[in-house]
């Protein structure tokens, strides 16, 4: 019974955690679809969490803090796109180096302002429910629902609006899009801002679960890239499936096995997926 409960909790949590990871990663997918290998994506997630922490600490309102973090990081994203990336947009190696540089900038700004010790944002709800003898926090379910809503909204935005069409056109063939009169530069700036804002939302929403630390961005960058590569670069559906796959693999295998072995198995499965589908599950 206990084992069944652990597997059920592992499975449920795998989906929930996968959706939270998808929320954090989806912004990277958008940015990568513009051929911008932004390795500082995790730092946008971290900066979002830090700004959210300060805003919530000052104002005392979780949701207002979330909005402040989202808009502030969107502005930072616009600044990065216009001020750093626009001038080197045709050179991926320079973009990689520049975004690596941004990692250090963001980390040290956070170290100076936030400090080196981890902190936590209080969850806006603390209720839980019982399943197979295990408690499970309602907040996680709530965050997972937000992820679903955001992902659905993003899908509708990209595939059912003119602006979404422009984004897709600009990322598929930039010259052609310009020739058709699409304001490609503005599209790229807004898309980058949107990706940054999504990262910050992920940062704030996950902070009551995993705590905030100035160095947390790098680990998330690595995980986000794994998810994107498994799912297929540029694919929203791939990002969602990749994130849930990772969440499930860890959730269920950790319930059954020693966690270290579970981690090895989940990585082996991911390698097998890549061997079978070298361009990812849903590459374009």
């Amino acid at each position: 019974m206990v084992m069944i409960g652990q597997i059920v909790i592992g499975g449920l949590n795998g989906i929930v955690w996968g959706l939270i990871l998808a929320l954090i990663t989806i912004g990277l997918t958008l940015i990568l679809s513009m051929d911008i290998p932004n390795v500082a994506h995790g730092e946008l997630y971290m900066i979002g969490a830090v700004i959210g922490y300060f805003a919530i600490d000052y104002l005392g309102f979780f949701w207002i803090g979330l909005l402040i973090a989202m808009f502030t990081v969107a502005l930072i994203g616009m600044g990065i796109e216009r001020g750093v990336l626009r001038t080197i947009e045709k050179d991926p190696i320079r973009i990689l180096i520049a975004t690596f540089g941004l990692i250090f900038v963001f980390q040290h700004v956070a170290l100076l302002t936030f400090g080196g010790a981890p902190r936590r944002i209080d969850p806006p709800m603390t209720a839980s429910f019982s399943i197979f003898g295990f408690h499970y926090p309602l907040y996680r379910i709530f965050v997972a629902l937000i992820s679903v809503i955001v992902l659905l909204g993003l899908y509708l935005f990209l595939y059912r609006t003119k602006f979404g069409l422009w984004i897709r056109a600009s990322t598929q063939n930039r010259d052609m899009a310009m020739a058709m009169g699409i304001p490609v530069n503005a599209i790229f700036m807004w898309t980058f801002a949107l990706g940054a804002a999504l990262a910050s939302v992920g940062g704030v929403l996950s902070s009551p679960i995993i705590a905030i630390e100035y160095s947390m961005g790098l680990e998330m960058t690595v995980l986000a890239f794994i998810i994107v590569i498994i799912g297929g670069i540029g694919s929203l559906k791939g990002t969602l499936i990749g994130a849930i796959l990772i969440g499930e693999l860890e959730g269920i295998s950790s319930a059954l096995l020693n966690p270290t072995i579970a981690r090895m198995i989940s990585l082996i499965v991911l390698v097998i997926v890549l061997i079978a589908r070298p361009r990812g599950l849903f590459s374009k």
Binding site: V2, I9, G10, N13, W17, M34, D35, P37, V39, E89, K90, D91, P92, I93, L96, F100, H108, L111, G115, G116, A117, P118, R120, D122, T126, S128, G133, F134, H135, Y136, P137, R168, T171, Q172, N173, R174, I209, I210, A211, I212, E213, S215, M216, E219, T221, V222, L223, F225, I233, E250, G251, S254, A255, N258, P259, A262, R263, P278, R279, K284
Partner: protein, 435 residues
């Protein structure tokens, strides 16, 4: 989706791999005198200004990376100690110069390079070392090779056992000592049926190993050993493995993993008592975590709050480091001290002063005499030694100090019991004097 400049998947992965390897690196990360009964002197009056060739003390600290909080406070403590020593006439009449801090970035390879830099380029006489056990282990052979005394603060047991040498002295506690100090008390007072959750690397594994032995000695049971991968973010898969029928959980986590662990523990409705060594929570502000940390037991190596050790020496030490009675930085109250760690480097400066003046040390040529003086040294609580009495064991160069069992009450660490240093002594595993 491909743009005008085509970045191939292979180019992209190559770039990410190179960059990631640069950044991730190997990150991550767990007394003084032969005459034992010497009475401490009162705070000395100002003496003559020190003169002559400065004694150079290097700092190899984590100023950035996962353990940056430690470096911040170590730096403050060393500066405070050296200011005090210099204002009181220096060491053997010579001024003391602080070289550093050299930032290890919390990476073993960088830490070892910084050790070499301090010794070979900056020509320091002594190195006050990292809290990162991997860095300490990598630096110990360098200390021996270049005849430089090294004072690490990493907690891995092996630093003063198989991985140490005669040039390495540790004034701070370590995992086995902590288990010896706390083990009997927690097993007699908290419970006999435990689960152990630990970060899955040397430090956490040591806690699992030594506490399991202690539980077995007491006829208790460890119902679950739960390793947590270092890069785990969501801890539900691990915390859910804690059986409901255990009386208590011993957890050995660090930094954000501690908050994640405590959050998840609460979220999953776990109710067994919690115990940890303070390393899990040092530098972390416990007051905002009241809802998840209240009531748990912790072993402190020096009380965070002044109330737990209100002596004139501790008051002087805290004032010099800019710490308020609650263990917060004056002027920046969100910054909480690593109170169980930073005292060690403060005291090491005074330990060196005592040993140098007793041994007649003038340069590294006299290091053997200095080593022999440090071996088996004892100090009593007093100026320069606010933490209390200490005994530096001759065989393995591990110091034994008193510790405190504290409980979180209303979000604050409240000392419940002082554990004398004698309770933490275990047989030495090695004898450097015979090697």
């Amino acid at each position: 989706m491909r743009g005008q400049w085509d970045i191939t998947r292979r180019d992209f992965l190559k770039g990410v791999a190179v960059g990631s390897s640069i950044l991730v690196g190997s990150s991550l990360l767990g007394c003084a005198e032969k005459k034992p009964e010497e009475t401490p002197t009162a705070t000395p009056t100002k003496e003559e200004k020190p003169s002559g060739k400065p004694i150079r003390i290097g700092g190899q600290f984590e100023m950035t990376g996962l353990l940056a909080t430690y470096g911040y406070w170590y730096d403050k403590a060393v500066k405070a100690a050296i200011n005090k020593v210099n204002s009181e006439g220096g060491i053997a009449g010579r001024p003391v110069e602080y070289v550093g801090p050299e930032d290890t970035q919390t990476k073993a390879d960088v830490g070892a390079e910084k050790m070499k830099k301090l010794v070979l380029e900056d020509n320091v006489d002594f190195v006050l070392g990292s809290v990162h056990s991997g860095i300490c282990i990598a630096s110990a052979p360098i200390a021996e090779q270049f005849n430089t005394l090294y004072f690490p603060t990493g907690m891995s047991h092996s630093i003063t056992a198989s991985k140490g040498n005669r040039h390495v002295f540790r004034l701070i506690t370590e995992v086995r000592l902590q288990v010896e100090a706390a083990g009997d008390w927690v097993l007699e007072n908290i419970g006999k049926k435990w689960a152990i959750a630990y970060l899955d690397y040397a430090w956490g594994q040591s806690h699992d190993k030594w506490f399991t032995k202690k539980v077995e000695e007491h006829g208790g049971e460890v119902a679950a050993h739960i390793p947590i991968p270092l890069d785990a973010k969501d801890l539900v898969p691990y915390v859910s493995k804690i059986p409901d029928n255990v009386e208590a959980v011993y957890y050995a986590t660090l930094g954000s993993k501690t908050i994640g662990f405590l959050n998840t523990y609460r979220d999953l409705g776990k109710e067994a008592e919690l115990f940890s060594v303070i390393c899990a929570n040092d530098g972390i502000d416990t007051e905002p975590l009241k809802d998840i940390i209240e009531g748990q037991w912790m072993l402190e190596y020096m009380p965070r709050r002044l109330e737990g050790l209100d002596t004139p020496y501790n008051r002087e030490f805290r004032e010099a480091c800019g710490v308020d009675p609650e263990g917060r930085e004056i002027g920046n109250p969100k910054n909480v001290i690593v109170g169980s760690h930073y005292w060690a480097h403060y005291e090491t400066v005074f330990l060196l002063k005592k040993a140098i003046e007793e041994s007649g040390w003038e340069s590294k040529d006299d290091n053997m005499a200095l080593i022999e003086t440090l071996e088996d040294m004892r100090v009593k609580e007093g100026p320069g030694f606010p933490q209390g009495p200490a005994y530096m064991r001759k065989e393995d160069h591990q110091a034994f100090v008193r510790t405190w069992m504290s409980r979180v009450e209303n979000g604050k660490l409240v000392v419940k019991k002082e554990i004398p240093l004698e309770d933490s002594i275990y047989p030495p595993e090695i004898d450097y004097t015979k090697m």
